[in-house]
Subunit: 342 residues, 2 copies
């Protein structure tokens, strides 16, 4: 950095140089304002000459509009959330809104801390992942006075609005897929239930669907605290086969853990899906190119982000658009669960 010898120029400096009032400068630097063409040019020249850079903080302060959207996600090291964030970022690109991003690391306490911090920045909208929060956090969000969007989930009583899908239903879809393929002794590998609420929902949906079909629903392995890694997927499969050797099929809480489980099988001469079927969740890139390819649930993570962005824009603009919809999750049936196509 070159230490700036003199302090940065202000709007007043530009106004003086251009021979107008600061108000006119303020207008000239924004689109859609009525400023004479000649004047605008004169002001832009002056600003250029002085190297003037608008001070958004002062502007935010004066106008009570910060242009911030606070966003919390569990982790960035998760392709699904990264995709959602990409969608969000893209969707917000030309709105002039800036994302304030925070990682909760799958902890509600951390989420509360982040929200508390973000509220001080006076965001114009708040986006959180999931519908489960600490009481205090929920209260903070309710009293925030700005639109709150809970994504990646369908809470029974949303704080304000939600854009997501039912993780339980999505897991049930996979159970149905297994059953269609003729599997009956089906297990589930998931993260530590106490933290990953979406993973917990999936497990719940999994168990409920099995029970509804009159099948055994006790083959549950906990793989450690989320996010579940490839390695934990491997280890969990070992545990699964140790405990219930006659397991025919396994649903994993994410594609990563499924990939780990499959890797273990391949390395140890267990054929997938001939000896055991394995499915994932989330439609990560890897599921498409793994060998065998992995049956998974496509939740269109990026579309969620785009939809949230759209909805944020809607809520912040005067003329409210239609509520945004996203597609329901679908099963991508691939090699890892279908003997016939193998």
């Amino acid at each position: 950095m070159m230490d700036q010898p003199k302090k940065q120029p202000t709007m007043m400096d530009v106004a003086r140089l251009a021979g107008v009032s600061t108000m006119t400068v303020s207008r000239a630097l924004k689109p859609n304002t009525s400023v004479g063409e000649k004047t605008r040019q004169k002001i832009q020249d002056a600003a250029e000459q002085l190297g003037y850079v608008l001070n958004s903080n002062a502007a935010s302060f004066a106008s009570h509009k910060t242009g911030f959207v606070a966003v919390t996600i569990p982790s960035i090291n998760n392709a699904n959330f990264a995709e959602t964030l990409t969608g969000l970022s893209e969707g917000l690109n030309n709105t002039g809104l800036q994302i304030l991003l925070g990682y909760t690391n799958y902890s509600k306490q951390e989420e509360e801390r982040l929200i508390e911090q973000f509220l001080q920045r006076r965001p114009e909208a708040i986006v959180v992942t999931g519908g489960s929060h600490t009481d205090r956090c929920r209260k903070l969000l309710e009293n925030s006075g700005v639109p709150v969007i809970e994504m990646w989930d369908q809470p029974k009583s949303p704080i304000d609005e939600s854009i997501g899908f039912s993780n339980a239903d999505a897991a049930a879809l996979m159970v149905d897929h297994f059953v269609e393929q003729g599997y009956e002794r089906i297990g589930f590998i998931g993260g530590d239930a106490s933290r990953d609420t979406r993973g917990l929902d999936r497990r719940r949906g999994f168990v409920a669907r099995l029970e509804a079909l009159g099948l055994e629903s006790h083959r549950l392995v906990s793989a450690g605290s989320p996010p579940v890694t490839i390695r934990e997927g491997m280890d969990s499969l070992v545990k699964m086969l140790d405990t219930w050797p006659d397991t025919q099929a396994v649903m994993c809480v994410s594609d990563l853990s499924a990939f780990g489980a499959i890797s273990y099988c391949i390395r140890n001469g267990i054929r997938v899906p001939d000896d055991i079927a394995i499915a994932g969740f989330g439609a990560y890139d890897i599921s498409e190119v793994s060998n065998p390819t992995i049956t998974t649930v496509d939740v269109s993570a990026q579309a969620i982000g785009l939809a949230v962005a759209q909805q944020v824009s809607n809520r912040l603009s005067v003329q409210q658009g239609n509520p945004v919809k996203i597609a329901a999750p679908t099963i991508l049936a691939r090699e890892s669960t279908q003997k016939s196509v193998q």
Copy 2:
């Protein structure tokens, strides 16, 4: 959102309720300030009762300290940058600094646009990925008046400071590894050179090292615009083998493309490394659990983030700490390039 009926309370409201001046409230809400214990309690109670939330914008405005650190990375959908960001985020966690994140999508124009936008927020430090910028962007950064850190690279003439490694040297390391293993006809699969400057550096280092060793250096396949995907890795390997069927070893610009290339081989009965050796770059999780495991370059992406965070803190605190160092990249020799250990 519940629409806030009355506007949010200000420090003045809290001061009135607590029977003190706003200055005392201001002090009471910050750590390390001399405020009487009783007074502090009284103020905290009043703030709690009113549901007062500090307005950081006003605070920033008054104090000329925004607490922002602007960060640009090429993409979030890249495990390496995601890790760096995690490290950065973690390292900045208790400093009270908030990251303003932007994605350049591997475009210098986009980077310039982002920097211009970020400067309006008056960040206290700026972190960019790589050492290659548009002229205007470079000028903006030079004149910013705040610390600028270029990461993931070692520019010859850094704008201010850089924390990274030489991508060319790292690629040369891999050439040496191949040669040690007895390979001589070595190819390179990388992204479109015009955009991904780090990928370009790797290719340059690759070619230079081969030439220095007197080996052929023309086996270069361009895999499309970055980031190179798994699928592009597959396609590129096909192209490589079509063009130069006698290729013995291939270095890929990232582990993802390496994984794709290997997947193609596995599916088509080409043995890795017996028929062809394949290496990646970046030490992604997948390289460790792929079958075969993938030889790669460990660049300690997260450590880069942590180091940058550390250095930002250093630069912003009065007593400057020592300049931060990161470990040099190392080869992780795995199955995909070593016939002996297969």
